[in-house]
Symmetry: C2
Subunit: 116 residues, 2 copies
DNA sequence: ATCATGTGCAACCTCCAGGTTGCAAAGGTA
DNA sequence: TACCTTTGCAACCTGGAGGTTGCACATGAT
């Protein structure tokens, strides 16, 4: 397999992990709350989330697994913060896909022009 | 509930749909292939995908449900194309989250400064 | 020392996402 | 018409995602 394909596979696997983490309404809601209110504890995040604290806890694990958040222990609390660098990575992937598509469409148009 | 919160909920629901669609490796692979090679038929997309044509077909339905692709019938084939506008929407959501987080952190720092 | 609060761990349940196989149908082609 | 190709439909299977409850364990406050 070519180096290029290999790299694409890795990028896809990596990016899909991030997108999957953001792909659940409850989880994206947690991310939105963090972004709006800043660092928060598990209990705080649970309030008004519509699900159990345990559920939120699991979701935070998932988000952490994708590198989207990290925690800091403060006394008996566990404060969670966003990892914006990771979000940027996802953003760049979206940009790359858009750009490649535009290029592909460009080539296609040129080809059609040439044919007729 | 405030208008602002209402809007946020909608945005979250909408965006999580898109992220969920991109959150599967096979599906993101399809998106990547489309972006790299341009419009393709179901059969073409299935070749070298590692799964059945039926599986790819289902994935395309999911992507279409999220508004990320649309199809054009050409003879007996069904050609699928990317919907980059939808990708941009997801990108903007990521940007918004990052920006809000930065603002929240900024407020937090100002608060800490003031306290001591 | 006692009590309240924040979190972790584990067992459990339910449902559906992702995949398969098999067959029918529609549209090109010789 | 007969044939090949591309797609659609339906039934089916399985693992894990998302959720819950119950209890144990730290840690801070009184």
């Amino acid at each position: 397999m070519s180096r290029r394909l290999e790299r694409t596979r890795r990028a896809v696997a990596e990016a899909s992990l991030i997108f999957a983490a953001l792909g659940d309404p409850t989880r994206l809601g947690v991310v939105a709350r963090l972004s709006a209110e800043g660092p928060l504890s598990i209990t705080r995040l649970s309030e008004g989330a519509g699900v159990t604290r345990q559920a939120i806890s699991k979701h935070l694990q998932t988000l952490a697994g994708a590198g989207l958040v990290h925690d800091v222990r403060v006394g008996r609390e566990r404060i969670w913060e966003l990892e914006t660098a990771r979000l940027q990575l996802a953003r760049r992937e979206l940009d790359r896909i858009s750009a490649e598509w535009d290029a592909a469409i460009g080539r296609l148009k040129a080809f059609v022009e040439e044919e007729r």
